[in-house]
Amino acid sequence: MHEMKCPEEVYQIADDIRSMKIRGAGRIARAAAKALKIAAEKYEGPADVESFITYVDSVAKILLGTRPTAVSLPNAVMYVTSRLRRKRPVNVNEAKLIVKKTADDFINYSLTATEKIGFIGSRRILSGETILTHCNSTAALSVIIHAHRQGKDIKVYATETRPKFQGHITAKTLLAEGIDVTLIPDAAVRYVMKKIDKVIVGADTVAANGAVVNKIGTSNIALAAHEARVRVFVAAETYKFSPATVIGELVEIEERDPREIVDEKFLKENPNVIVRNPAFDVTPPEYIDAIITEEGLIPPQAAYLILIEKFGWVIQDYFISKYSLREEDEDWYQMS
């Protein structure tokens, strides 16, 4: 198969994702869907469906290579590519339309998801409650902000979130809404837990068993909440759920630069100190009371339901490509 030229805009988007100019799970996912749409519109290769699909796959590969750990990215890409295959277009024009439509569908679904989560989650918050949050999660903040705008009187404790202090951004956002915010060191989460009514955090990735991969320290908080019988809610759009974990793949935990924790001077003066900086940890499902998705509130153990409903085709494609299963054998998957 001959190499097909990929439009300049796609490379630009890929670069922006790689350099973190485009950041945040939702924005990355939408940018990837947009890139596929542009690629389809600008397709100039041979007029057969086979070539077009190969071309889309090569664009998908470029996009997938930008950020190996973020799950929203492969979900956006596979959302489009799986549907393209399944709908069995008869000509290139139809194939182009499928890509454009599914990309738009994904973008829409992503844009409305955070709002819906905010609405659904806010119904769980009662006036007078004190909420603890960690890091800076758009979905978690959406829940808190919705509750506040409904006139509920709430207080928020925000962890500073070492090493990168995302808690400061959370505090600033909530203060701008007029919400009462108290910043605490990460080590003080058990100390304050007695004053907390609910924990609301976001998710980086939700695994098939309902385990939540999120900013390092989330599992400390969930455990301390569990001990104190404080409810833990995870706000996560369904594109944070990882289809790859259904086929047994592990979620890789990224370890970041030590210089996020200590400065250059410390490293020079202490060459024998090892500094380890994992970006995420895994909260087991038994410490999570519910995951708030735009499709509704689910117990974490029901993550599989969301995965099949939303990414059935993607999972089926994984099985076919990685385990050489035949498509006919796998047709029990829902087609959404």
Partner: protein
Amino acid sequence: MEAKTLVSKLVSNIISWKIRSSTELVEETLNTLECIIKKSKDLNSLVLDIIYMVNEVIKVRPTAAMLINCSRDILLELNNVVNSKPKLPKAKEALLNKIRRIKGRMTNSIERIATIGANRIIPGDIIMTSAYSKTVMKIFEKALEQGKKFEVFVTESRPGDDGKIVASELSKLGLKVTLIVDSAMRYFMKYTTRVLLGAEAVAANGAVISKVGSSLMALIAHEARVRVFVAASTLKFNYETVFGELVRIPQAPEETILPGEVKEKIGGIKTEIPVLDVIPPEYVDAIITEYGVIAPQAIPLLMRDLLRTWPPKAADVSEIISNILEVTKSA
């Protein structure tokens, strides 16, 4: 005047977290006290200066049981001195002697705890610790002297970032040490074989008051079935808690986590920065004291043996002070 300057310097070092370990806090207090006693020119100002100092230091760290216990000893001695109406040099000598004896007891207890604690370290151990504890550092040192090979995870321990200093010092001893953020405690707990912590105070029910984050670490260790050891001299026993006194947790100044320029950008934010928290006894497997390793629930037994009476008769610091003041006034 002189004494006030010395005291305010000490107090500001405590508040700004320059003095990190509660043992060092007492050592510095005793050193300052020696200075004040030596410089004193008459008995009356000597008495007032000592009382002033004790009050000021306890005010900033009311949780430091060792500080309270040592202050009590010194005040009791001062009470004796005042009652026997000696000449100034004689009074000075008595008080300096007392301080010397307390210092000796502290040194001895740390030595013994280090030996006992080092015995509990097994070659191949991976030990997690947090904050700066002079006693814990001594245990590591001793275990290294015994030729044991082990490694240490140390948390950053905010506020104060003590972990950076601990990591630096331990690495210079030749120990393999890994620095992590406080949030990474649970992530690394499964690679850990033991948790070793210092203490600010030990309450009558075996609860341990230690640097904030310690109780989180103990909970996480408990979940992972990792044993938690606390190194604490019996000088850190808080006898007041026998009578139901609650331990009040002091707060660190806001700048420790929120420098002025950052705060300005965020706007009207509040902070809550506890310096310490309380580990419930059920998460502590053993307390390593200079009298041996004991279960936290057995603390009342050791208290009884130390004071040879139960309930403990540890005089209240403020009561001794008012006694002393009465005697000096009537004189």
